[in-house]
Subunit: 218 residues, 2 copies
């Protein structure tokens, strides 16, 4: 009975880590769709988002069943509660990748991004994918040092996000208001994606230590 | 013992409803700060956000204690799990009101909004406050008809949000890129605030029926 219980707890973590892998792949594809005006890739991300929603629903059901049937306490209870939070965060990461893909599709065959900002979005995409991949690893390993790394990566994302505003506010911006609106929202989607990855890692810190790290500045 | 348990469950709902009241007041003040370039009101919202964060932490602790000590099942378990989700949504509503207040402070003593869009933001503020107030009532009453009303209010918010983009993309927009960036983000903050209020109401539907309503389109 306890073995089966432990298997269920491990299965829940494994499901969440897999979900992180899905949204890492989604952000990678969405970023390429955005940079290359690749409609096929954008459509893939849009179609596949339902998979993330399904895994989230399954993870929640599994967490609910664990609470109802096993009444976990202490660390095990923290694992289940953190999984409920984590599933929500990771689903949102998938939604944000979806929004990026939708922007690429909406403007197709035109590129969404002026050439001068494309490299920053390539970098935001890279950092975002790295954050989701690291969050998956932290869910599996519960390694606190690895969890702390996500904070540093998120600082890099915040710098890129702030820099986008500097570029937009520059008097030399000559791509008009529509492009500025797109860049504003897209940069925010990447930044929020990163925040949710950090939130997932912080919940793992809470699982291990019983304490939440300081609040995320958003 | 069971009486005390029921009191704890009711106390949790009451705490969440109170938290909704706090973020309704925050959005109301933030909107007035935005429309009237009122620095004092903006500062109030910024200072008071920590209260919402505190109530959220208390609600989570209370939910955790209920799970650990009472091992609720069925409807009671749904109440506690929904409270965990709801606390997260409502805290985020507070953060979004905070972001609006920060925008008002950042541009002070200049107004953030061009005159032509101010009435739309007044309306988004009104709808947002109404959504938070209705969410509080739904948490208390668990009335499914009242929960359904939030969907309609959210449609009104989505229409206002879409309309902002039409105004921004219009060739007659002559307020420059910086104002367009502010309007884009601010409109998104209101729209996300509304989404979170709807999510809270949907969790109450789940408490009562055991089924989540269809997914929120975001």
């Amino acid at each position: 009975m306890r073995d089966q219980y432990q298997e269920q707890l491990d299965g829940l973590a494994s499901r969440l880590a897999g979900m992180c892998g899905e949204v890492a792949a989604a952000l990678d594809k969405a970023t390429r769709a955005l940079l290359d005006a690749d409609l096929r890739l954008a459509e893939e991300v849009i179609t596949e988002d339902v998979n993330v929603d399904t895994i989230r629903a399954e993870a929640e059901e599994q967490a609910f069943a664990l609470l109802a049937l096993q009444a976990p306490v202490a660390t095990d209870l923290r694992i289940v509660v953190s999984a409920i939070h984590g599933a929500g965060d990771i689903e949102r990461m998938g939604d944000l990748a979806l929004h990026i893909a939708q922007a690429a599709r909406r403007r197709h065959p035109q590129p969404v991004l002026p050439d001068e900002v494309a490299p920053y979005f390539a970098e935001m995409g890279r950092v975002g994918v790295q954050l989701a991949t690291k969050a998956a690893a932290v869910i599996r390993s519960r390694d606190l040092d690895a969890a702390a790394e996500l904070e540093t990566d998120d600082d890099a994302m915040d710098d890129l996000h702030r820099h986008m505003f500097t570029v937009l506010m520059d008097r030399h911006w000559n791509h008009g208001v529509a492009a500025a609106v797109d860049v504003t929202l897209l940069a925010r989607f990447y930044e929020r994606y990163a925040d949710h990855a950090v939130a997932v890692a912080r919940r793992i810190v809470y699982v291990v230590t019983g304490q939440m790290p300081g609040p995320l500045t958003v």
